[in-house]
């Protein structure tokens, strides 16, 4: 059986700037995979290649053995890839429940089941009390949660989280971590971009480190943080020897 997601020699340039160069790694079903790297390492670009927003210049992305690179986002969503956005993109003319219903309609065409699915997803993500609030009235932490709820309502196999825990208070981040664990416990594979190392490292099974568009290293969190190349990429040459 192939891995859930295969990123196979993916390269992508934007106007001569190489965002991703020859990137390869697998995501195993049921794991939480962290994607880290300094600013500009190409993390969000890679997310966009996986979720269909952009097409890689070369290489391909496969979901359960099926090639998905080149497919538009709406098809990637139907095949089981859901994502959140680094800059929150809530539907601000709608309530929280209505936002999540849009996600639920991805697989359910009738309103009654879609509403039931959305309510269930809101309960799972701890947003039930806010169901009837306008989306624009949510706190930043709640908006991140709403994006997760909306994505989960599409019944994904793989959930891509783009800096879901960044900019939250320690308490909010801790409850976000718990939510991600709960998502995995439901059998959904998680791949997450995150800057907050002390939150990310205890959470993930493996880490892919990107630097300047390339894969620097892949491994368990404890190995990765001791890797001299990673330290150099994050802190500069001076610290690598220490």
């Amino acid at each position: 059986m192939p891995p859930l997601l295969e990123v196979d020699r993916v390269s992508k340039s934007f106007g001569g700037v190489a965002a991703n160069v020859d990137i390869s790694f697998d995501v195993r079903a049921g794991e939480i995979l962290g994607l880290i790297g300094p600013n500009g390492a190409g993390k969000t670009s890679l997310f966009n290649s996986i979720s269909g927003e952009v097409t890689p210049d070369s290489g391909e992305v496969r979901l359960a053995g099926q090639r998905i690179s080149g497919l538009p986002p709406e098809q990637c969503s139907l095949l089981g890839i859901a994502r959140t956005f680094q800059v929150v993109r809530s539907f601000d003319s709608m309530t929280v429940l209505e936002n999540v219903m849009v996600g639920a309609y991805a697989r359910l065409s009738r309103t009654r089941p879609a509403m039931a699915r959305a309510l269930e997803t809101l309960a799972f993500t701890g947003l039930s009390a806010r169901a009837d609030s306008p989306a624009h009235s949510l706190t930043p932490a709640e908006k991140r949660r709403l994006e997760v709820a909306r994505a989960l309502a599409t019944e994904p196999r793989l959930l891509l989280l783009d800096e879901m825990l960044t900019g939250l208070t320690p308490v909010e981040a801790a409850s976000g971590v718990q939510l991600i664990r709960d998502v995995r416990a439901r059998g959904i594979t998680v791949m997450m971009v995150e800057h907050v190392m002390e939150v990310l490292l205890p959470l993930v099974d493996r880490v892919v480190v990107l630097d300047l568009g390339r894969v620097l290293t892949i491994g368990a969190p404890t190995e990765v943080v001791r890797n001299p190349d990673v330290i150099r990429a994050y802190l500069g040459d001076r610290y690598a020897a220490a």
Binding site: E74, F91, M94, M115
Partner: protein
């Protein structure tokens, strides 16, 4: 399953039914022809604005070519009557079908543009339609078409002609507005309504949730255009004469969305409230201040519109407790570019 949404929708249906009854009784104590005419035009525009609202409000595509769909409906039903002797009650559905088809033809190229570019493109398309009709002799050209009174049948619902008593036109307009409202209500509670609002709010996020942008816009355009075409056919029968300057002129493409915009775009009650305020207002300013040739009536009318837009950007309907949506909907912005 009782949720806030199902409860709200039931209330809307009850209010809608009560309003329909009230509007059905409204003209009965009024014998004055001028006032009755004003009510008919107001109700008709409530329906037309609601039809526009389906594409412009819920789906967020600011169409400025609705005069075209209105005109197509008016011309198709009229030509079927004068050339083939087909009753307008049948002809208006043909007009609606062609209005919807025309909206699809316009949408096919124009929905590849986003935001302001889409709006500008629709203005141009509307003008093309006007000029074509103006120079097309087979459909009457600039002279227009007189709609004959079929003497052999007399006043008749089937032929939608009433000379002795004009009251039935009120019920025709009211039925049209009620259908437009009901379609909007059904859409609000269906997958389409949710998907269209997602397309309006954030196309990038919508796509990530399996929403197909282009087909969504086309579906909204077809329904909106079809309803507008039916409205055009009813209007043609009511006024008894059509020409490009009465059913296809560019300003009509502003007059149709105006009640929805001022009443509240993307809301169920906005177009109704907007029409109830705007149409009588424009009539009253014209009858009291117009006619002098100085245009004072239009200045006052325009001034009042600006005042409403400044004081209530989310629409007049918000004054009477209609749920206010974030005042963000009018422009879905450059994000569309990637989606088109």
């Amino acid at each position: 399953m009782e949720t806030s949404i199902t409860r709200r929708r039931r209330h809307e249906l009850i209010i809608g039914a009560a309003l329909l009854l009230a509007l059905a009784l409204l003209p009965l104590p009024i014998s004055d022809v001028y006032t009755r005419n004003l009510i008919i035009i107001t109700v008709l525009f409530a329906g037309l604005a609601q039809a526009w609202n389906i594409l412009g409000g819920y789906c967020g595509q600011i169409s400025l070519s609705h005069a075209l769909y209105f005109g197509v409906g008016a011309y198709v039903s009229t030509l079927l009557l004068t050339r083939l002797g087909i009753p307008p009650t049948i002809g208006m559905f043909a007009g609606g079908a062609l209005g919807g088809l025309m909206a699809l033809l316009v949408g096919w190229p124009c929905f590849r543009l986003s935001g302001h570019y889409y709006a500008i493109a629709t203005v141009v398309v509307g003008e093309i339609g006007y000029l074509l009709a103006l120079n097309w002799d087979w459909i009457g050209g600039a002279t227009g078409i007189n709609i004959p009174y079929v003497r052999s049948v007399g006043d008749s619902w089937l032929w939608l002609q009433f000379r002795i008593n004009k009251l039935p036109y009120h019920y025709a307009a009211l039925a049209f507005a009620a259908v437009a409202w009901l379609v909007a209500w059904l859409i609000e509670g269906s997958r389409w309504g949710f998907v269209w609002r997602a397309v309006k709010d954030d196309p990038v996020a919508a796509r990530s949730l399996a929403v197909r942008i282009f087909p969504s816009k086309m579906a909204a355009a077809a329904i909106s255009g079809a309803l507008t075409g039916i409205g055009g056919a009813i209007y043609a029968q009511y006024v008894g004469y059509i020409d490009p300057d009465s059913v296809l002129y560019g300003q009509l493409s502003i007059l149709i969305p105006l009640p929805a915009v001022l009443g509240g775009v993307g809301t169920l009650w906005g177009p109704l409230v907007g029409a109830a305020v705007l149409i009588p207002l424009s009539e009253l300013t014209r009858s009291y201040l117009g006619g002098s040739g100085s245009g004072v009536d239009l200045m006052i009318y325009g001034g009042l519109i600006i005042l409403v837009a400044l004081a209530r950007p989310q629409g007049l309907a918000s004054l009477i407790g209609v749920r206010v949506r974030a005042p963000r909907g009018l422009d879905s912005g450059a994000d569309d570019a990637a989606a088109a």
